[in-house]
């Protein structure tokens, strides 16, 4: 009962904020709603007993990437963008795409329900030390991707600086 209330609360929060992100004209307000949407998603992770994922979502997305967004927003002249025409010439295309995606998802869930254990969270006891669990898998089975990730970070680091430095 409580679980469901909490789930619907977070889900509704995520969906409504997500809609507000794209409809708000003021880009800073959009950013705030994006943060809310990300945090609500984190809440849903938490409800699935994925504690570590929850906090990573909070630290990396809400804490890290959103700071980057907010900084970039402040590097843009807001008053100009506030008065710009929004990209809404292709709204009908967007609508068609959204409907198609929605239909696709509905069908997929309806057809593949047996394969997707929805609404059946794994027993809490099994997932208790979630950080350790994530770590264990990460540092044994996915060792190579993990090391490759560091190369990815290296590339990102260099790319960001090269791009930003050129513009100065």
């Amino acid at each position: 009962m409580l679980d469901q209330i909490v789930f619907y609360f977070f889900a509704a929060l995520a969906v409504i904020s997500a809609v507000l992100v794209v409809t708000r004209r003021n880009i800073v307000q959009s950013a705030i709603f994006l943060i809310t949407a990300l945090l609500a998603t984190a809440g849903i992770f938490l409800q699935l007993h994925a504690e570590f994922l929850f906090i990573v979502q909070v630290i990396l997305y809400a804490g890290g990437i959103m700071v980057l967004f907010v900084f970039v927003i402040m590097l843009i002249n807001l008053d100009v963008s506030l008065h710009q025409v929004q990209f809404n010439r292709q709204w009908w295309l967007g609508l068609v795409l959204a409907l198609a995606l929605g239909a696709q998802l509905t069908v997929a869930i309806a057809v593949g329900r047996s394969g997707l254990p929805l609404g059946e969270p794994a027993p809490a006891t099994m997932l208790e030390p979630s950080t350790e669990l994530v770590g264990k898998v990460l540092f044994s089975e996915y060792m190579l991707p993990f090391e490759i990730a560091s190369i990815l970070l290296l590339v990102a680091m260099i790319g960001a600086v090269v791009m930003a430095k050129k513009k100065v």
Binding site: L75, N77, V80, S81, H83, Q84, V85, A164, K167, V168
Partner: protein, 380 residues
């Protein structure tokens, strides 16, 4: 609204990463422009690419007032210029008028004047140190400095009844005889004072942050300092050994031995060191002077009504902030025809733009602090 909307393409460049030039006003109501100085900064990010000092918020027309007062009446007005060094202002004015009159104060008066002026220099430097350190973020030295300054102000109070705008001297000498405990008070202050200066230095000089904030900031080379007609500690920190107390001795400075501390790099740190050393030297002068205050009258032979012969005179003294000059033109009446004051703060402030360019916003306060300006004197 609709007409304000512009097509996206024309403003594409506005989304390119880059900084606009920002105009930031520091002052007139700002915590660290030492009064009502307004500095208009042009910033690229945090880097200062240009500056303009807007002054005049404290203009009171001191020079004009002089034309409608007698020589004696005008004397208290000069105290209000550099209000943290009123004694020095008064000394400059009194000596200028004495020069115009062709009179000289008796030796005893000149010695007492020297002691009080040197105490005033210490007080002014203490006030500078406290506020300068506060600007750079060190909270504590201010209170230590004010504690010591208080002792000096007490001596002034005992001597002439006033603490800040003292009107300590009169044209031709002194009105007040040194009070009984005068020598003892000065000695009691001066004896332990070098330890106090060491104490301030131990808080600041060796501190990495302090050195980082002041070394290499606001450099003024010797040539530039001369070109800008800078004076006082500002020019001495650039390595120019220029001190009016030595170059054109006045009061009783020729009687005492003291050094002129100079710097090498002309940066904020050197100006700090120079002023610290000057405090020590002033202490030495005071100690030498109280050893032997000659007996004799304290008032020279000047009439009740001062009527200098027509002519003009320029007299400069080494005020705590630099060369404080009085240019007085007399037309033979009881009131000066024209008084022009060369305030050291104003002239030193000229170099501000040169010093700040290329530095960061944070350095603005360090450089304003190091110039040791008083807006009362800049605006007059």
């Amino acid at each position: 609204m609709a007409d304000q909307r512009v097509p996206f393409a024309t403003h594409a460049d506005s989304t390119v990463l880059g900084a606009d030039e920002i105009v930031l006003n520091m002052g007139p109501q700002h915590p660290s422009t030492h009064g009502v100085l307004r500095v208009k900064l042009r910033l690229d990010g945090e880097k200062v690419i240009g500056s303009e000092c807007v002054i005049g918020y404290l203009h009171r027309g001191v020079e004009k007032i002089a034309e409608h007062r007698t020589y004696t009446q005008f004397a208290p007005y000069v105290d209000r210029m550099d209000y943290v060094a009123a004694v020095s202002n008064g000394l400059g004015y009194c000596e200028a008028v004495e020069k115009l009159l062709g009179a000289e104060a008796p030796l005893r008066a000149r010695v007492i004047r020297t002691i009080l002026t040197e105490l005033q220099r210490i007080a002014s430097h203490l006030f500078w140190l406290g506020t300068h350190a506060l600007d750079i973020g060190a909270l504590t030295p201010l209170f230590y400095c004010l504690r010591e300054r208080e002792e000096i102000l007490k001596i002034f109070e005992k001597y002439c009844g006033a603490r800040l705008t003292t009107h300590a001297f009169r044209i031709g000498g002194l009105q007040y005889e040194a009070y009984d405990e005068f020598e003892k008070d000065v000695e009691r202050f001066c004896k332990p004072f070098d330890k106090r200066v060491d104490e301030y230095e131990s808080l600041l000089t060796g501190n990495r942050i302090w050195v980082g904030r002041t070394k290499g900031i606001g450099i003024l080379t010797a040539k530039e300092a001369i070109d800008y007609a800078a004076s006082g500690p500002v020019i001495r920190a650039s390595g120019v050994k220029w001190d009016i107390r030595k170059a054109m001795p006045y009061a009783a400075y020729d009687l005492y031995k003291f050094e002129i501390p100079t710097g090498k790099n002309g940066d904020t740190f050197d100006r700090y060191i120079v002023r610290m050393e000057e405090m020590r030297q002033s202490r030495l002068i005071c100690l030498q002077a109280i050893e032997n205050i000659p007996a004799g009258p304290i008032m020279g032979k000047v009439g009740k009504v001062l009527k200098p012969p027509p002519g003009e005179v320029y007299h400069a003294i080494e005020a705590p902030k630099g060369e404080l000059g009085y240019y007085i033109v007399s037309d033979g009446t009881t009131q000066p025809y024209r008084v022009r004051i060369r305030p050291p703060s104003l002239i030193n402030l000229e170099a501000f733009d040169k010093m700040i360019r290329g530095h960061l916003v944070a350095d603005v306060v360090a450089i304003i602090g190091t110039l040791d300006i008083v807006l009362g004197e800049v605006d007059r």
